[in-house]
């Protein structure tokens, strides 16, 4: 029983980070209709920058328990990259999807080397803060409290996104744009501004996700291109453009992966892709097709 709980918590922990990246993917797809392959790279960027920021902050005398705030701040600060990247993507909004996909692939290539250039090719780790908040003992297993912090942060951001999208003026505009771009524009929505903001928000979700998850592991060069295929599985399962879909999809993928690793490690990603293919074939619009953005 405890083992199962431990397993599920591990899955949910992974799902929390996955949700943030997938939510960014959905938001950008909803408004700009671009499937952004680079959002995995944003995640990697957040992770690397997070390690550097926390190390610097601790050296400068910031009280260690505040490191989680430093991580979130780093993710948010990386938002400055949003507007210039969006400006680049703006050149191809009215082109075929093939070109849009390839331009984001170009970003993947560039960002991978930017990370290699700044932080090197060796795994990069943030030592000593993961267990700072202690551990919860459940029978034979102990779970770091930090895992709960990340899960809580993921839930809080999901709830916050829900409120922003459904209750605020900005959210209404975003949903209207996702529903019908031309009509929204005709009604006076400044498309340039909304695109910039939505893209930046999507990027920040990814960088915050990467920053939050990194105390539990090591940053490696390939983490971005590996995560993107998972995030992509999430959005296919949940349905492209659907926020609720991203939430459910990341739980499915996170938990499925955890269960597969425990039962039959060979099937870790195989199981995920099989579900993706099944969903694409049986419900191509995803499990949560109707909800837009």
């Amino acid at each position: 029983m405890i083992q199962v709980l431990n397993l599920l918590l591990g899955g949910v922990f992974h799902a929390a980070a996955l949700f943030l990246v997938a939510a960014g993917l959905q938001l950008v797809f909803g408004v700009q209709k671009i499937l952004n392959l680079a959002c995995g790279s944003f995640y990697a960027l957040g992770a690397y920058a997070g390690i550097t920021a926390v190390t610097t902050a601790l050296a400068a005398g910031v009280p260690p328990p505040l490191f989680v705030l430093v991580l979130i701040a780093t993710g948010v600060a990386l938002g400055v990259l949003g507007p210039p990247i969006e400006r680049l993507l703006r050149t191809i909004y009215d082109r075929d999807e093939a070109f849009q996909l390839l331009l984001t692939f170009a970003l993947v290539l560039m960002l991978e080397d930017v990370i290699r250039f700044v932080w090197g090719a060796a795994p990069y780790q943030l030592g000593g803060v993961y267990l700072l908040y202690g551990q919860v003992r459940l029978g034979a297993v102990s779970i770091p409290v930090y895992n709960f912090v990340v899960i809580a942060a993921g839930l809080a951001i999901a709830a916050g996104m829900g409120v922003v999208l459904t209750r605020t003026r900005f959210g209404r505009i975003v949903r209207a744009t996702a529903e019908n771009r031309g009509m929204a524009q005709a009604l006076g929505v400044d498309m340039t501004r909304i695109s910039t903001r939505v893209f930046t928000l999507g990027l920040v979700l990814g960088t915050v996700g990467g920053a939050l998850v990194i105390p539990a592991g090591a940053a490696v060069n390939e983490m971005g291109i590996e995560l993107i295929v998972e995030a992509f599985a999430v959005v296919v399962i949940g349905g492209l453009g659907s926020m609720r879909g991203a939430f459910a999809g990341s739980l499915i993928v996170g938990v499925l992966k955890a269960v597969a690793i425990a039962l039959y490690p060979e099937a870790e990603m195989l199981a995920v892709y099989l579900i993706v293919i099944a969903v694409l074939l049986l419900r191509p619009a995803g499990l949560f097709a109707r909800a837009t953005a």
């Binding site: 499937l35 392959l37 680049l88 050149t91 191809i92 082109r95 999807e97 093939a98 070109f99 996909l101 390839l102 331009l103 692939f105 170009a106 970003l107 993947v108 290539l109 560039m110 960002l111 991978e112 080397d113 930017v114 290699r116 250039f117 291109i225 295929v229 992509f232 599985a233 296919v236 492209l240 490690p265 060979e266 099937a267 870790e268 990603m269 195989l270 892709y273 099989l274 993706v276 293919i277 694409l280 074939l281 191509p284």
Partner: protein, 313 residues
Amino acid sequence: MTGALVLAAAVAAAAVVPLTGRDYYATLMLPFFAYSVALLGLNLMFGTTGLLSFGHALFLAVGGYTAAYLGSALRVRSLEAMLVVAMVAAVVVAVPVGWLCVRYVRIYFGMLTLAFGMLFYSFLYKFYALTGGDEGIPVARPLLLGRAFGDLDKTGYLVGPYYYYSLALCVVAALTMWRIVRSPLGLSLRAIRENADKAAYVGVRVRRYRFYAFVIAAVFAAAGGVLLVVPTGLASPTLAYWTHSGNLVFMLLLGGFSHFFGPVLGAFVFIFLQDQVMSVTEYWRFVFGVVLAAVVIFLPHGLMSLVVRRVDA
């Protein structure tokens, strides 16, 4: 007519490369031939039919692993046998995968092919006993037309008989694809790309023809995969990874998907540019990202559009 002369000159130039004694450049030509074969097929799907696959490296891997498996486990040494079996294996895989994929178009087609590619990748990566896992399977030097060329060392073999074998295969692949593109099938595929509804209206069986294009592209890719793994001597799971599929589409776009020889030019420029950039900086991915972005934004019809006006893929 000038086109035919240029082509003849290009093939002749390729044929004299090994004679110049600069073995390094001759060995760089080998992946170029392999990718050319694969890309000629891929372009039947993208350039001719208008379907963007982001998982086509799956079939390169099918070819590469077939060659490796035949050589190491079954002791089959003949390259012709490897090519035939690889192409048959590609059909066996492409029929169910293609049948499922062609039910979708645009972004969903891209995503489904990517998912299948990654499915195969994780199979190759995780099932160690069968596929060698992350280490892959070594590829022994195959016999060419039954001859071992035992008196040649590895480089001598690669820049000698194997080089001309690859070149010949590349020419055969181009001639075959030229026939396909100009056949009624090719015409129907172009009609589907331009307007699938209208094509269906005049009697083209859209889904079936897309399926044919998918399977043909897979067969070309598998042949390219066999050619690709012989020089490197290894079939590894990265062959099927999604970034490899991305690079294939990159080459296609770089050369120009709307011209028949665009993919070949793309493969050539990609490989030699990669070699040059890598000798200058280890950050070649960044440079290539910039190149790809520039091509996408400023040169959507690729380098070929700088050379020729005519668009006929």
